[in-house]
């Protein structure tokens, strides 16, 4: 049933009100503007025959005489192999000058996964980045954000993780992206050859704000389709703070009561609904979500990183161009460390971090001008090597090579009995 109306009653913020009958919550409408543009809108509420539409490309330039056509269906996303290598905007329209997709479509914001059908995740995701693989191993179906601040190379890190994992499909959801960042992702994926298994949903910083909040839903709905068809999908979402800010902007313009620093009271549920799409489906595919959360003012208690931390399974702190080994945490790492990876993995990683923490203290002592003991000097040497060979984001090694490197560093800096490691491991894997 297609119904057309020629009068818009009220326009405010991103909302346009139309008098219409028989519309559904969530139904899409196409508005034809006088200047020839067209935009989609979604029914977000109705009261009698007054229907409120959230206009995806904003209400700028919308006139009371514009034509609104209700489409009788909800927001959908196409999926299928032809979407790979392609770039779309938040409304799902191609923005890479390629053809419109004619494939099957699926509604976004689909039902949630039955918890009783979930399995305990235990498949290791190799990234070849020591600060992840070695110390905070990533696991299939994990949802984990990179906590960072503007200016840090978080998008570079995200792109590198994506092209170095062996995911079948990569879906990038970009929210509030600068054009340079968008171009960077495109170039990087093209250069590394990952583009042919990648699909992008991009909301640029200059795009209408409503499209921003659609991006994760589009990306995850498409991912879910691939995942139920045996594919391991990696979903990258950058930046979820921009997404939350878009939610804030819209909810305030709709006169909803704000809860904390202007964010809507539903922020936790809104974020969780997206992150919880991460899943490992028994005897089928999976969705792993790596997101970026920039922390305004480097403040982890800001509502966005705070709520995120309660939802996700750990976090990577990206500070000063490196992944901080102390604040970072992968809650699922126990599922794979030493079980899927080499047996000495867990103990070796713990020993390396413990000694690095001691080394940091030694460095403090050195900077305060205290006299250093022989042990302090050893620690300082170790810290230098550790930072150069392990922490640097340039390092690119297979997990077994990372473990060997760890033993090599120990052999170079310490005596056998100084590392506190089990003799069993030292005899088997030590490099002394």
């Amino acid at each position: 049933m297609v119904r057309t109306y020629n009068r818009i009653e009220r326009i405010k913020g991103s909302i346009a009100q139309v008098k219409a009958e028989g519309v559904m919550l969530g139904e899409l409408a196409r508005i034809k503007l006088r200047d020839g543009r067209e935009t989609l809108g979604e029914v977000i509420s109705f009261d009698g025959d007054r229907v409120n539409l959230q206009v995806f490309s904003g209400t700028k330039g919308v006139s009371t005489g514009d034509e609104t056509r209700f489409l009788g269906k909800a927001m959908q996303v196409s999926y299928g192999d032809t979407m790979l290598g392609r770039v779309f905007n938040g409304s799902g329209d191609p923005i890479d000058n390629g053809p419109e997709l004619m494939e099957e479509k699926v509604e976004i914001q689909g039902p949630s996964f039955n918890p009783a059908k979930r399995i305990v995740p235990k498949r290791f995701v190799k990234t070849n980045i020591p600060m992840i693989d070695m110390f905070n191993a990533l696991v299939i179906s994990q949802k984990i954000p990179i906590f960072s601040i503007p200016g840090e190379p978080y998008n570079e890190l995200l792109a590198r993780i994506a092209s170095q994992t062996d995911a079948d499909i990569i879906i990038l959801g970009g929210m509030g992206l600068k054009f340079d960042d968008y171009q960077f992702f495109k170039d990087y994926f093209t250069k590394t050859g990952a583009m042919e298994k990648t699909s992008m949903f991009i909301h640029l910083a200059s795009d209408p704000v409503v499209e921003c909040i659609l991006v994760p839903d589009m990306a995850l709905a498409a991912a879910e389709q691939f995942a139920t068809k045996d594919k391991d999908v990696l979903v990258l979402l950058t930046d979820m703070t921009a997404f939350s800010d878009a939610l804030k902007e819209i909810s305030i313009s709709m006169e909803m009561v704000p809860s904390n620093r202007g964010y809507p009271g539903s922020l936790y549920s809104d974020l969780a609904a997206r992150y919880e799409k991460a899943v490992d489906i028994e005897s089928s595919g999976s969705i792993t979500v790596i997101a970026v959360t920039t922390m305004p003012g480097d403040d982890v208690t800001h509502p966005v990183p705070d709520n995120t931390g309660y939802i996700t399974e750990g976090q990577f702190y990206l500070h000063g161009g490196v992944i901080d080994p102390f604040g970072s945490l992968s809650r699922l790492k126990q599922q794979v460390m030493g079980k899927v990876t080499r047996e000495d993995h867990g103990d070796l990683a713990n020993a390396m971090i413990r000694l690095y923490a001691d080394a940091k203290k030694a460095r403090d002592r050195a900077s305060m001008g205290f006299r250093l003991s022989g042990w302090d000097k050893k620690l300082l040497k170790y810290a230098g090597l550790f930072e150069e060979k392990m922490m640097s984001l340039e390092v690119n090694l297979d997990i077994d090579e990372q473990l060997d490197l760890g033993w090599e560093l120990f052999a170079e800096c310490f005596e056998k009995n100084e590392t506190g490691l089990k003799n069993e491991w030292i005899d088997k894997y030590g490099k002394w």
Binding site: G22, L25, G48, P115, I119, P264
Partner: protein, 586 residues
């Protein structure tokens, strides 16, 4: 029950998100269940506001596709919980939908508008009658029992039965399903009521028949830091607030595994689905040390995780507490664990916002603290009509924004609970687990145990108070030391500091990943406390500070190693003797 024909009907006239306005004819009850008939689906909801011939309802499911004019059916019943044998070993959502059955029927995803029977209708239960024909009974009196896992599951006179009744018929021993008649009872007016094994109870009303008693007995958890300084009482309440990453979930899992209770109801309310999966996949394989069965046998799970509908999140907590109260009514000890009550409060906040109520602090509704106290007040011990006692202990985790306890949910919770187990980021960063902060946590139960307990208990409470005092002094000295350095304090103070650190390391901290240390029974806890107290009470005189440090460092290491040793190992006694000699020696 109102006859189906009399039930009111209405149509949707306005909708926004989960909140809808219905124009109705007939009679409508506040909080009555409604079904919105939309596109062939029937979506469950609840009346939350009535004005004239319009009612506002909140729908428990995603509302995409609802239109103006969609029909609404009023059910006349409030949101109820189905009670009867078959609640254990099961996983329900916030509306008591059995998730495993739904998975079987619908696959990976949770479909809308599918409501299955919470209790299995085809399972036959071995029934033994207790009441005789001709006996006078009242509501909640026992009619008979069926074995359900390790519980003698009592079948009771319906809770909504009014006045005294006479048993007219009772089914003989045999096997029955939950919806078969097992008794006929005549009420005072001469009406005959047919009784089945299952019955319903409105979730938001406390289910409590009998005299309420004060909690006086300890609910042990196998965790030293809880059972020692901050104990929980059977029939009492506790809360565990903490920032993310401080180990709230590990703590809740530990308690759900090792708490000495007969039934555990876990409400996973708005948290990660992954955490429930761990319970679901682990518990069926873990042994219950008390019964020899599996942990899952005593567990019932209500699971409304963060991506499941928010409105059903609100009801999930009530579902859980009602199920626990039901078992309490049989004279059973129950424990309800809700993770997390903050998510539940947020659900209240979301709905209150949509209703455009005037917001209170941080936009939480003004009735937040009332709701929180109502919930925790459902805990308690009751004396049943036959003189036996049943208990319900409630523990809620709280997820305060930014880890700051000065927020409405934490503050309202603290006002009503008997025990506060504060998880702190500082302790978890220092890897001192469980990260329950001994400086700010408290329990109101220790004094009561001392009052009601025997001499041993009185002595135990005294020892713990002494140790606690040591921790406080040690912390003060530690703070001083960080300013003036070790040189700036007297050796006596350093010893106090080291004693506090020692007690923290060997008694308060416990390794959840060590197979032995993870759970310590009371006998061993008493033994450990005995040993620690010897050290704390001893007057030491060391030559210099270095010697004092060395002594406590080596002692700490030895005691921790002993904590990791099973008492069944032959060298245990020898190791213990060694340590005692060191303590006596200096």
């Amino acid at each position: 029950m109102v006859d189906k024909a009399e039930r009111s009907r209405g149509i949707i006239v306005a909708a926004q998100g989960n909140l809808m306005t219905v124009r109705f004819e007939g009679v409508v009850r506040q909080n009555e269940v409604v079904y919105v008939k939309s596109a062939g689906l029937s979506l469950k909801g609840e009346v939350i506001e009535i004005s004239g011939n319009e009612a506002k309802i909140q729908v428990f499911e995603p509302t995409k596709g609802v239109r103006y004019g969609d029909e609404v059916e009023f059910d006349s019943d409030l949101l109820t919980v189905e009670l009867g044998p078959g609640l254990l070993k099961r996983v329900f959502d916030g509306l008591q939908n059995p998730l495993e059955d739904i998975a079987e029927q619908s696959g990976y995803f949770l479909p809308r508008g599918v409501y299955l029977d919470p209790l299995p209708r085809d399972t036959k239960w071995k029934w033994t009658p207790l009441a005789q024909v001709g006996a006078t009974v009242e509501k909640a009196h026992f009619l008979g029992w069926v074995p359900e896992e390790n519980v003698e599951h009592k079948i009771m006179v319906p809770f909504n039965f009014i006045g005294k009744g006479t048993v007219k018929e009772i089914a003989p021993e045999g096997e029955y399903t939950v919806d078969q008649e097992i008794a006929k009872i005549e009420d005072e007016k001469g009406n005959i009521h047919s009784v089945k094994m299952m019955q319903r109870w409105p979730a938001k009303f406390p289910l409590r028949f009998g005299e309420r008693l004060l909690p006086k007995e300890q609910l042990t958890t196998s965790m030293r830091v809880i059972d020692g300084p901050f104990p929980v009482a059977k029939g009492g309440t506790f809360c565990t607030p903490g920032p993310f990453g401080a180990g709230k979930t590990v703590l809740q899992h530990q308690v759900s595994k090792y708490a000495k209770t007969q039934i555990v109801v876990i409400v996973a309310c708005g948290e990660r689905a992954g955490e429930v999966v761990e319970i679901l996949r682990e518990f069926p394989h873990l042994d219950d040390p008390q019964t020899g069965g599996k942990l899952m046998d005593r567990t019932s799970i209500i699971c409304n995780t963060s991506s499941m509908p928010v409105a059903a999140r609100e009801s999930s907590v009530y579902m859980g507490v009602t199920i626990a109260e039901y078992y309490r009514q049989m004279g059973v000890d129950c424990l309800l664990l809700a993770d997390s009550t903050s998510r539940w409060a947020q659900a209240l906040r979301e709905m209150s916002g949509r209703l455009e109520e005037i917001p209170g602090e941080e936009a939480f509704p003004a009735y937040l603290s009332t709701r929180i106290s109502e919930l925790y007040e459902r805990a308690g011990i009751i004396k049943l009509y036959d003189g036996k006692e049943g208990s319900l202990t409630i523990g809620g985790s709280v997820s305060p924004a930014g880890g700051n306890f000065e927020e409405p949910v934490t503050l309202s919770t603290l006002a009503v609970v008997g025990c506060f187990l504060a998880l702190s980021r500082q302790r978890s960063d220092a890897r001192r687990y469980p990260a329950i902060d001994p400086l700010i946590s408290w329990s109101k139960y220790n004094d009561r145990f001392a009052e009601h307990g025997d001499n041993f208990m009185k002595d135990r409470v005294k020892k713990i108070a002494f140790a606690q005092n040591m921790v406080l002094r040690s912390d003060e000295i530690g703070k001083k030391m960080s300013v003036v350095g070790e040189e700036g304090i007297a050796i006596e103070d350093l010893v106090v500091y080291l004693k506090g650190e020692f007690y923290d390391a060997v008694y308060l901290q416990q390794n959840a990943f060590d197979p032995v240390d993870t759970a310590t029974d009371m006998e061993r806890q008493n033994e450990q406390l005995e040993m620690v107290s010897k050290v704390l009470e001893k007057e030491y005189s060391f030559e210099d500070k270095e010697k004092a440090r060395e002594y406590f460092l080596s002692l700490t290491d030895k005691v921790i190693q002993l904590n990791y040793l099973s008492k069944d190992v032959s060298i245990y006694d020898q190791k213990k003797e060694e340590i005692l000699n060191i303590i006596e020696g200096v």
